[in-house]
């Protein structure tokens, strides 16, 4: 046998060995569970959960099943993670650039931020923001009145809920699509004429929001508006953003922003100094040379650590359980596990979810990573 054949044999036997081991674990576990008189299986997912959840993006009440609880947990985890990833990315890039600023005050402040938050455990960070919110904002009885359209107190931010009719939703979608096409075309022409594009996302958001607001105002889009109102104990009606969600997102964004800032700084330093000198000498401004010349080259260094940062954001969002944010670990691996006692099934499901999400993030960002790498010829 040559070396290649030996290596194939070794690999195959390793895989077979691992499969056998997994099989052994499953069989022993089932036998032990049966011996202990504990039931197993996924049948519990169809049972009624019987507990309420404070915050959910999808329709949920205590009459729903444990499977629904799983879905609520997933959506809440994803909501917090996605916003926190955007948050830490924005903070990270701004602070990362600031770290290299020629202005000592800017660089100093950025350095203090990074060192402070990178060196404090995330759980403390989240608890800190949570109790700051609870103690900073007024009690329900003394809520801030937001110009008659909403309320702000320690239990959340309350805004009117605008529920459009199906036709109204179609019109809104159409507005966004038409605006996007228009802005992209305009941007393309601008680039051809002047050499610079425009800030497309910003313009799309601004124009479509204005148009939709106008259409709502004159009644073209039919919609029902539910205003938040004070009741005996709480503000009810409308939509509310709970302090647990805010504290979790703020904590995650600030903590992970400090790491992203360091990745960005490293990336920027990896670009040869001649690049920025050359960019400036062609007449680009500081910001233009950063955006058009330096950052694109820095990305190939920034992306790999940035991928693992985002994986960590998703996993660390499970700390929301400590401050009662109803994410997957809190309501599924916590409450549901306790009510049903199905530790193995539930923990495996939660693990499978985090695994899948992490793989998806890696996949997407790896594709992006390939795009930003130098094309060597």
């Amino acid at each position: 046998m040559n070396r290649q054949q030996i290596s194939i044999v070794v690999q195959i036997s390793t895989i077979v060995g691992l499969c056998l081991f997994a099989w052994f674990l499953i069989v022993t576990t089932k036998a032990n569970l049966a011996a202990a008189g504990m039931s197993s299986g996924l049948g519990f997912l169809d049972e009624k959960a019987g507990f309420d959840v404070a915050f959910s993006l999808i329709e949920y009440s205590g009459d729903n099943t444990y499977w629904r609880v799983f879905l609520v947990g997933i959506t809440n985890t994803l909501l917090a993670s996605v916003i926190a990833i955007v948050g830490c990315t924005v903070i990270g890039f701004l602070v990362g650039i600031a770290l290299l600023s020629r202005n000592p005050l800017t660089a100093g402040v950025a350095r203090v931020y990074v060192e402070t938050f990178r060196n404090v455990p995330l759980l403390l960070n989240i608890l800190f923001w949570y109790f700051v919110i609870l103690n900073l904002f007024p009690r329900v009885a003394d809520s801030f009145d937001l110009f008659g359209i909403g309320f702000l107190n320690q239990r959340g931010l309350y805004l009117p809920l605008i529920e459009a009719t199906p036709l109204g939703r179609l019109i809104m979608l159409a507005v966004v699509v038409v605006t996007s096409i228009g802005v992209f075309n305009y941007s393309k022409r601008q680039t051809e004429v002047t050499g610079f594009g425009i800030f497309r996302t910003g313009w799309i958001a601004l124009i479509s929001c204005t148009v939709i607001a106008l259409l709502l105002w004159i009644g073209v889009i039919g919609a029902e508006v539910e205003m938040p109102a004070k009741s005996r104990f709480n503000i009810t009606g409308g939509i509310s953003i709970i302090p647990e969600l805010v504290a979790l997102i703020v904590g995650l964004s600030i903590y992970h922003g400090a790491f992203v800032a360091e990745y960005v700084r490293g990336g920027l330093l990896s670009v040869a100094k001649g690049q920025s000198e050359a960019a400036l000498s062609t007449g680009l401004t500081d910001w233009q040379s950063m955006r058009l010349v330096i950052l694109p080259q820095a990305m190939r260094v920034i992306i790999p650590p940035y991928i693992s940062n985002n994986l960590n954001v998703v996993k660390n969002s499970s700390l929301g359980a400590a401050i009662a944010f109803p994410e997957l670990v809190n309501i599924f691996a916590g409450t549901s596990l306790n009510q049903t006692g199905r530790a193995i099934e539930i923990v495996l499901m939660v693990m499978a979810f985090y695994f899948t999400i992490s793989m998806l993030i890696s996949l997407v960002l790896n594709i992006y990573n390939k795009k930003v790498q130098f094309n060597e010829r």
């Binding site: 032990n32 202990a36 309420d52 005996r232 700390l319 009510q339 530790a343």
Partner: protein, 344 residues
């Protein structure tokens, strides 16, 4: 990038995995305990006044902690031969199932699904409790039935969580739940005003109130919305071990009924002419031998830990800050429910 919580979660997970997967849970717990030389007992994380609370001298005190000591005293004649495992609500059952602890005395409500579905046995009830509510006094609420629309804080993994929903649904009311992982965060948030009411076992609420900066700012509502028999839990299928735990506990209850205390037990033993007491204290008969523990187990329990009444008063009763009435926990002969089957 990892932190304590992650590690704890991982530890719990590993416990499930290794515990249930690898080693079949030991069939004879008593044998194991004797061999090891100490009892492993699961209790609250030291922040549950009256039940398991870490005092200034770093000693865990409380009725749950003393229940563990009773069992240690019965087996070893020494209440200090117990190692306490502080457990969160959601860790407690896994720890017992995986064999990390020998018994659980952690304000655990005896329910059918836990008894049968989780494959446990409840050895005895060391505290009869019920779920209640505590609210901020300035809300002017005087009954739980006025709580429609209120925000209610509770801790995850408890029967309280389900009881609240049942109670509100049954009374046609709604509420919004805020569920924390740990009771310490639940407490801080409640005091910070995150919720209108806090719901848990009445004994726990009494403990919570005295921890407030100004206890008069909070009112305990009169309604008790559930039955919460809090008991000692062991794994199903080890009857001998369950018997040891049950009868060690009953010794403390029986002692109170017979009027034997930690102070007078030696006197009683010296003066005794009553054969029932002689059997009970191990002077004659083979009751301890039947259980597989020393003949004088009851004497050791009474002498080193005390009778049920003594334990109750010093941990949750009149001599403690909680100042709870005996109520349901009085002896059956005083109109309560604490009742020990005869030791004969």
């Amino acid at each position: 990038m990892s932190h304590i919580k992650d590690m704890k979660a991982a530890a719990a997970l590993t416990a499930v995995a290794t515990g249930v997967m690898a080693a079949p849970v030991a069939a004879d717990t008593l044998e194991e305990v004797l061999e090891r030389g100490h009892l492993e007992c699961g209790v609250s994380t030291g922040s549950s006044p009256g039940f398991a609370f870490l005092n200034e001298d770093n000693v865990i005190e409380g009725i749950d902690a003393d229940t563990c000591r009773i069992v240690a005293a019965a087996i070893f004649g020494d209440p200090s031969k117990v190692v306490f495992s502080p457990l969160e609500n959601k860790e407690r059952f896994t720890a017992l199932q995986a064999g990390e602890i020998d018994m659980l005395a952690r304000t655990t409500t005896w329910t059918l699904s836990r008894d049968v579905g989780l494959a446990f046995d409840f050895a005895a009830v060391n505290f009869y409790d019920g779920q209640g509510f505590i609210v901020r006094a300035d809300l002017g609420v005087t009954s739980a039935l006025e709580l429609d629309g209120a925000t209610i804080c509770t801790t995850s993994g408890t029967t309280s969580e389900l009881n609240i929903r049942d109670y509100f649904t049954a009374n046609g009311m709604s509420f919004s739940p805020v569920v924390y992982e740990k009771s310490s965060e639940t407490r801080t948030s409640f005091f910070a005003g995150r919720c209108d009411a806090f719901s848990s076992d009445a004994s726990w609420i009494a403990g919570l109130r005295i921890q407030a900066e100004n206890p008069d700012d909070y009112v305990v509502l009169p309604e008790i919305i559930s039955k919460e028999p809090l008991g000692m839990v062991v794994r199903h299928g080890d009857s001998r071990w369950k018997d040891v735990v049950s009868w060690a506990y009953y010794a403390a209850v029986e002692a109170e009924e017979l009027g034997i205390t930690s102070e007078n037990v030696d006197q009683v033993l010296a003066d005794n002419k009553n054969p029932a007491i002689a059997r009970f204290l191990g002077q004659e008969g083979d009751l301890g031998e039947l259980l597989g523990i020393p003949a004088d187990y009851a004497y050791q329990v009474i002498k080193t830990v005390g009778n049920y009444g003594e334990i109750f008063e010093r941990t949750v009763g009149k001599e403690s800050p909680l100042n709870l009435e005996r109520g349901m926990n009085a002896l059956w002969s005083d109109g309560g429910m604490q009742y020990a089957p005869p030791a004969r």
